[in-house]
């Protein structure tokens, strides 16, 4: 297979898949190395981008997905009559953040962190395909675990969940400060 054929085969695969396809899966089926897949995609992407083609390739989860180029959205929108996505409510966004950073996580854990019932928010995120069930926790009641999906990654432009904006989850300084405070108070 020539380099050009490899590019075209990948183009066909990404088009037909309609979801992200892993580099390793493509390499195996095409009988080439992962590095060759990466190179072919890089060339294809370069061609798409320099010519401002209708298509675009994004990275997702060690794989690639094809989508339409934003600059043509106005025409697509008119034809498909697409409604623009509505912004998530604060409740839904908070819930999504907890799931994204803490996954997999149960409904109960989410509620404990937020301090309020989160059923509505969770259902909304499920409906939008941003989260999905990820089995059950091996604990009494076997509660459902939730995790984020590929749809979440591509909506938020993340390659993997490791790309989430960094937040300091532990904040050891603050905890240390707290311990100090308690001591002082007891002395006083």
């Amino acid at each position: 297979m020539t380099a050009k054929q490899l590019q075209c085969a990948i183009e066909a695969i990404l088009f037909a898949a309609g979801e992200a396809v892993k580099i390793s899966v493509m390499a195996k089926s095409l009988g080439v190395s992962k590095e060759m897949v990466r190179e072919a995609v890089a060339l294809l992407r370069y061609e798409y981008d320099t010519q401002e083609r209708g298509l675009m390739i994004i990275d997702i989860d060690d794989g690639y997905q094809i989508c339409s180029r934003p600059m043509y959205y106005q025409y697509i929108r008119e034809i498909l009559g697409e409604q623009r996505r509505q912004a998530l409510s604060n409740a839904a966004m908070e819930t999504l953040a907890i799931i994204a950073y803490k996954q997999p996580v149960t409904r109960g854990q989410i509620e404990h962190i937020r301090g309020v019932n989160s059923d509505g928010a969770i259902n909304r995120l499920l409906e939008r395909g941003l989260i999905d069930e990820a089995g059950r926790l091996d604990a009494p009641g076997r509660p459902v675990l939730y995790e984020t999906t590929q749809v979440f990654l591509r909506c938020f432009g993340l390659k993997t969940v490791k790309d989430l904006p960094p937040i300091d989850l532990k904040r050891p300084e603050e905890y240390a400060k707290f311990e100090q405070l308690t001591i002082t108070e007891q002395e006083a």
């Binding site: 994204a100 962190i113 603050e174």
Partner: protein
């Protein structure tokens, strides 16, 4: 004290309201002036512009927790024991909540990253995919049905839903309930806490009554002492 009108639905929950008060007072999560913050928290609930019932039970649970911490801090500490700060659990919950609130704001920035991109569904392929050929035990089907039923139960018994089903969006003002409690106490010198509740018809009324009693205790108009024999709080006029 100035009257501040709060709309409960501008806060995501009791922790959110507390964080707001903490920020407003410029104090540390780890050293909350509990008496002050509790008062402000109760004020926020009492002077609610509008009672939003959706999460009101959680707001009340927090009110009770704050009062509990406050009372614990008033008790003399045993000298020998190195007792935990009663605020510690709350501080940690607030710290954790604050982290995710920040994370949520950070994620918000990316929300529409792919707004103008269209992803298509998998192409319909005109060749057969191999038939499913894994073997499963039939008990897996029964388990799956139970999972569905359980989840349904969770959904149906969630406080929010059951609340809406019963009460709709009825509004009860706390002032009215303060008046009601005063009326009851004008006839009798003391009354059992649960008796006051028996006279409330609906959930919102019960919630408002509860807040009214809290408020009256706070303003030192009444006292509530636990009676071991009756296993109830006895409310008396001061």
């Amino acid at each position: 004290m100035e009257k501040i009108l709060y709309k409960l639905d501008t806060f995501e929950g009791p922790l959110d309201l507390l964080l707001h008060l903490i920020t407003k007072n410029k104090v540390s999560i780890y050293d909350i002036p509990i008496a002050e913050i509790t008062d402000q928290y109760l004020d926020a609930l009492v002077y609610l512009d509008e009672m939003v019932l959706e999460n009101s039970s959680e707001f009340l649970v927090m009110a009770a927790q704050l009062l509990y911490i406050k009372s614990k801090m008033l008790l003399p500490k045993p000298e020998t024991e190195t007792e935990e700060d009663p605020r510690e659990d709350l501080a940690q919950r607030l710290a954790e909540y604050q982290i995710y609130k920040k994370a949520s704001a950070a994620l918000r920035e990316f929300e529409f990253w792919s707004r103008d991109m269209v992803f298509r569904l998998p192409e319909k392929i005109n060749f057969p995919i191999p038939e499913y050929d894994r073997m499963h035990d039939k008990s897996e089907l029964v388990k799956a049905i139970y999972d569905v039923i359980e989840r349904r139960k969770e959904r149906q018994t969630s406080p929010k839903r059951s609340f809406y089903g019963i009460v709709g969006r009825e509004k009860v003002s706390i002032e009215d309930m303060v008046e009601k409690v005063c009326k009851i106490l004008s006839k009798r010198k003391k009354v059992a806490f649960s008796d006051i509740f028996l006279k409330s018809d609906s959930k919102p009324e019960k919630i408002a009554t509860f807040l009214a009693v809290l408020e009256m205790i706070r303003l030192d108009k009444i006292s509530a002492d636990y009676n071991e024999k009756e296993k109830d709080f006895i409310i008396k006029v001061k």
